[in-house]
Subunit: 200 residues, 2 copies
C-alpha cells in the first residue's frame, strides 16, 4: 500500500512486484480490463513503463498474478465467513455466498473484471490451483448440508456461485439503484438466495 507514495522519479521500491499486483487490481476495479494497461500501472506507481517488465514477461502474466492473488484472498474470505457463521451447515453455506459478494464488492469489482476476462488462454497455474481450492472449500460446505450425492453437491455449489456471481455482476454494473444498495444489503440478498437454493 506504500505504493501510492507520490514518487516522481528515480524512486526505489522495496517490492515492486507486489506493488504492481496491488496497483493492477486497483486499476482494474476503477477502469476495467478494457482500459487497463501496463503503462498505466507503472505511471500509478511512479516508475517507468519499462520497470514492470523486469518482474513480469508480459502483460498477460501480470494479469495472471493479479488473478491468482484475488482467488486466494477470496477463498480465505469464504473460509473465514463459514467459520464465523457457526456450526450449522446451512448457515455456513449461506454465509459463504454472502462473503463472496462482500469480497468482490469490497475490491470494487476488480475480481469480477478479472474473471469476466478472457484469461483462460494463459498458462496460469497459480490461478487454476486457487480456483480449484475455492471449489473444494465450497464442495465441503455443500456436502455438509446433507446432499445425497456428489453430483447434487456439485450442482448446489454451482447454483450458489452463480447467484453470488450474478449479484456481484449486477452490483458492479450499476444495475441496482442508488438507494437500498449498500454492500451489506446485496450480500444479505445473496445469503437469502443461497438458502432458498438449499431448500429448493
Amino acid at each position: 500500500m506504500e505504493a501510492s507514495v507520490s514518487a516522481k522519479q528515480g524512486y526505489h521500491h522495496g517490492d515492486l512486484r507486489a506493488a504492481l499486483v496491488d496497483a493492477s487490481f486497483e486499476l482494474l476495479a476503477e477502469a476495467g480490463l478494457q482500459r487497463f494497461s501496463v503503462a498505466a500501472v507503472a505511471r500509478r506507481l511512479g516508475v517507468s513503463t519499462a520497470a514492470p517488465y523486469r518482474h513480469f514477461p508480459d502483460r498477460a502474466h501480470l494479469l495472471g498474478a493479479v488473478s491468482a492473488t484475488a482467488a486466494r484472498d477470496l477463498n480465505a474470505a469464504v473460509r473465514a465467513a463459514a467459520e464465523t457463521a457457526g456450526p450449522d451447515p446451512g448457515d455456513r453455506m449461506a454465509a459463504a455466498a454472502g462473503a463472496y459478494v462482500r469480497y468482490v464488492a469490497r475490491t470494487g469489482g476488480g475480481f469480477h473484471v478479472i474473471y469476466a476476462a478472457e484469461l483462460h488462454h494463459l498458462p496460469d497455474e497459480a490461478r487454476r490451483e486457487q480456483t480449484r481450492a475455492l471449489m473444494t472449500t465450497l464442495l465441503d460446505l455443500a456436502t455438509a448440508t446433507g446432499c445425497a450425492t456428489h453430483r447434487e453437491a456439485v450442482q448446489l455449489v454451482e447454483a450458489t456461485i452463480a447467484v453470488a456471481h450474478g449479484y456481484t455482476s449486477l452490483f458492479a454494473d450499476g444495475f441496482f439503484a442508488r438507494k437500498s444498495t449498500s454492500v451489506d444489503s446485496i450480500a444479505a440478498r445473496a445469503t437469502g438466495a443461497a438458502r432458498a437454493l438449499m431448500n429448493g
Copy 2:
C-alpha cells in the same frame, strides 16, 4: 448476415449500419470488449476503417446501438418463452430464466460482454429504454406468481436475473467442464434455480 460476403474493396452495402451492428455483436462474442475495435469490425465487413464513422459518430455510439439491439432481442426471447410455457405463473417465471441463459449462450456471450462493460456513461437512450422494458416484463411475471408486495416482486426479479446472469457468466467464462455443459443443461439448471428462489 450477407455482411460476411467476402468483399475485398469498393464494395457497396445495402445497409452498412445494420451490418455493423451485427458484425460488432459477433466480434464482441468472439474477442470480448477488450479486443473489440471499430477498425476490426470494418475489416470484417470488408469496408474501410472510415466507413463506420458515416453511420456512428464514435465507437461508443456503435456499442450503444449493439447494446440496445441485444436488449430488445433478449426481451423478446423472454416474452416468447413465457408465452410458450403456458398458463402457470411459476412455469412462466422459471421459463424466463431459462430463456435468458439460452439467449446469451446462443449469442456466444456477446450480450454478457456488453453489459459487463462500462457502458453506463453513454447517453444511451435506446439501451436504457430496452432495459426498462425487460424489467417490466419480468416484474409482471413475478407479480403473477403471487408476490404479496411490490418490493417482494422486485426482489424476486433481482434474484432471478442474478442467478440467470450468473449462470451465463460462468458458462461464458468457461467455468463448467466440457462434459455435461450443453446450453440446454445450463438453461435447465437456471430454470430449476429460479423455481427454488420462488419457493424459498
